[in-house]
Point group: C2
Chain length 482, copies 2
Amino acid sequence: MSAAEAALLIEDGMTVGISGFGGAGDAKAVPLALVERARQHPLKIDLVTGASLGRGLDGLMSEAGLLARRMPFQGDPVLRRAINEGQVMFVDQHLSELIEQIRHGQLKAPDVAVIEAVAITEQGHIVPTSSVGNSASFAAFARQVIVELNLACSPHMEGLHDIYIPETRPDRAPIPLVRPDDRIGAPAIAIDPAKIAAIVICDTPETALPILPPDEETQAIADHLIAFFEQEVEAGRLGASLAPLQVGVGSIANAVMHGLVDAPFNNLVQYSEVLQDSTFALFDAGKLLFASGCSITLSGECGQRVFGNLEKYKDRLVLRPQEISNHPEVARRLGVIGINTALEFDIYGNVNSTHVGGTRMMNGIGGSGDFARSAHLSIFVTKSIAKGGAISSVVPMAGHVDHTEHDVDILVTEQGLADLRGLAPRERARVVIDNCVHPDYRSALNAYFEAACARGGHTPHLIERALEWHINLARHGQMLAR
Amino acid sequence: MSAAEAALLIEDGMTVGISGFGGAGDAKAVPLALVERARQHPLKIDLVTGASLGRGLDGLMSEAGLLARRMPFQGDPVLRRAINEGQVMFVDQHLSELIEQIRHGQLKAPDVAVIEAVAITEQGHIVPTSSVGNSASFAAFARQVIVELNLACSPHMEGLHDIYIPETRPDRAPIPLVRPDDRIGAPAIAIDPAKIAAIVICDTPETALPILPPDEETQAIADHLIAFFEQEVEAGRLGASLAPLQVGVGSIANAVMHGLVDAPFNNLVQYSEVLQDSTFALFDAGKLLFASGCSITLSGECGQRVFGNLEKYKDRLVLRPQEISNHPEVARRLGVIGINTALEFDIYGNVNSTHVGGTRMMNGIGGSGDFARSAHLSIFVTKSIAKGGAISSVVPMAGHVDHTEHDVDILVTEQGLADLRGLAPRERARVVIDNCVHPDYRSALNAYFEAACARGGHTPHLIERALEWHINLARHGQMLAR
């Protein structure tokens, strides 16, 4: 069927599940055809995906007025604007939880699922491409499935995936994964072939992820973290292979992971969500034994190298449904080291991953909470300042909290590392201010903290000034008057 | 050994692990002897427990200057004051996580553990009393163990417990618990008998928990919740036995649970932390099949009835280590309905469980996060106003966040119930204001929300006024001028 014909299966008011996670493995042809159609004949859908879509799809759909509701994540500047203007209802969710809520009837299941595939097996099972995300469950729960066979994908992708879906409760068994390289499921998505309403052929290369190269600050963050890991190994709290590593999406986390290429740790293992360039740099450096994820999202150069030579990496890789890659049960059992990017954090270690100025959505919490809540070590990294110094990433009180003090162990900026384990709030503030804050903001934070302590409280605050920096930013474009 | 002699095993600067959870099963003699000693000869310890201690022990230890550091929970007015004055460093932790951090060397293991027991078996194993809490792991990790044999405890307690301890990572197996009534461990705490440094005999009855009777507001909260459960059953999202119930500690949650006595649900099962009077009211009403917890904390009358007739209830009860009763792996597998008490929440569904006015610690997060993060339904209940109406429990922005919007499904006050599932922040605010807010505060919250929406943002706020109600409270003793 043509993409335009297949798109006609999608009706106004439907919930549509589209494959895609971190800009990898997203259905490419049918969503564009849907955009074309919406430009002619207005229609609205609720869109659910794995995570963000590539190729500006979210923006195009938003501009075409197609999106009534969007979950569980996005990362598109055009859609972001529509969300912040209240035009699209965005539900910002833990990435491991969307499917759990659909499975148990708490969210509407997709009417139609659109799944990118590299093949359909002789049994009629769907082989996904560079991400699994929520595709397997979308296909299982949707009434109709549109398969996009993308000829541009490497046929070697077959065999890369491990599809395991937890049972509907009650009577759910433990997830049998006890090592990051365990395969516990099937290599393809098994569905009733009668549900496949359309097969659309396309030949569209994967989106390349724009990834910023490491810079002085990200290198400094990596160095602080590596020095910390060395201390942990020396103290016997970590082995020389550390623990299964989870690394968040984006340039800072990717650069930190790159830093491990030159670090004295070997036989590393990754149990993560998105596998980025750094995973393959570590493979090529002989540092990494195995990587488990739900998506492979690469820059242009790295994408050609990896997908052009997939058989070289394939036996050291597995892609799982995001429900499994991000499952708190597994993260806690394995004892992952979770390294995620903060937008801002406060002196007490509450982390904001999502909101600028306390109100404006950036991308969403993504998988950071899935890991941070259950990790052996929950680490958040960020540069200490943003916008040329107008913004301090460390503030008296976070303007929005995505990860509470209870779930945050280690904070790192280019200035240094704060180890918050076992500390009370007053002690946490001391190490955060001394280690993480940019010098331009240190005396102001010290003054705030000391005045707050004089007033008292377990978590001392001058409540009337707690959000002053955010107010300044909104009014004057900078957190502190200079 | 006498309690005073045993207390001499505890030296200045030590970390001491004392049994006790929710005022149940706490060591009673040695801590008091330690208080006596500290009054004569100053000494400081770091105190770790299961959760709160009974009999005012935390307050007595605090007044004697004994506590340098306290974790993971407390509920004592005297200690609370010392914490808020910065005299005791309190580390407010998820109750399932303290032991994980000790096991992996991230927190110091107890030098000495003091464990209340009803018996020591022929093998030298310790049989705990009315709570397990962290006792099994304290005994395993401490260098020395003091056993307090409490003759006042019912000998029928033997056989009540199920001691299962997860392996040290890596190479940890799944927790094999798949039904709330599964027994997966041993009936007593197995340790090397050579570590038992003292056995102290005492004969001290358990603390009775002061529990407020249900009132009009708690009855209304229960009614709203029961009506909601009925809808969920009708929609096929819950069966007539609902799902394993977790209910937080305290009068409101207990009263809500009591409400189920007259509700049209049968064959209920509890997978909870503290079992309170309501558990036994439901047993006696023939509504409850089984209850799993880590502690039994009862009022005086109910305590006599239950512990005086323990054989009547015993085959329908199990007490587990709090690491298992509260384990996110198990809570998510079973799909518990988590009902916990909020101190305040904001219009977007961020919940504060711990801090008054954004700064002053009440008790601690306790197990609420363990459950809320992984529950099938994460429900928070509170009365809509406090202090005779000076305080609204629903505010524009929470002064402290313990449970983020991502982890909160349902909010209930005596005014009504807000179902937040699948809603974006602007939609959440609408249902919270319409359903949960006290009429005295509704128009002010509406005005705030509408002005914030006009300004924009995914989570609209007037950032310069977001904490105004907390500032008013601090300055004028009430959130809104009347």
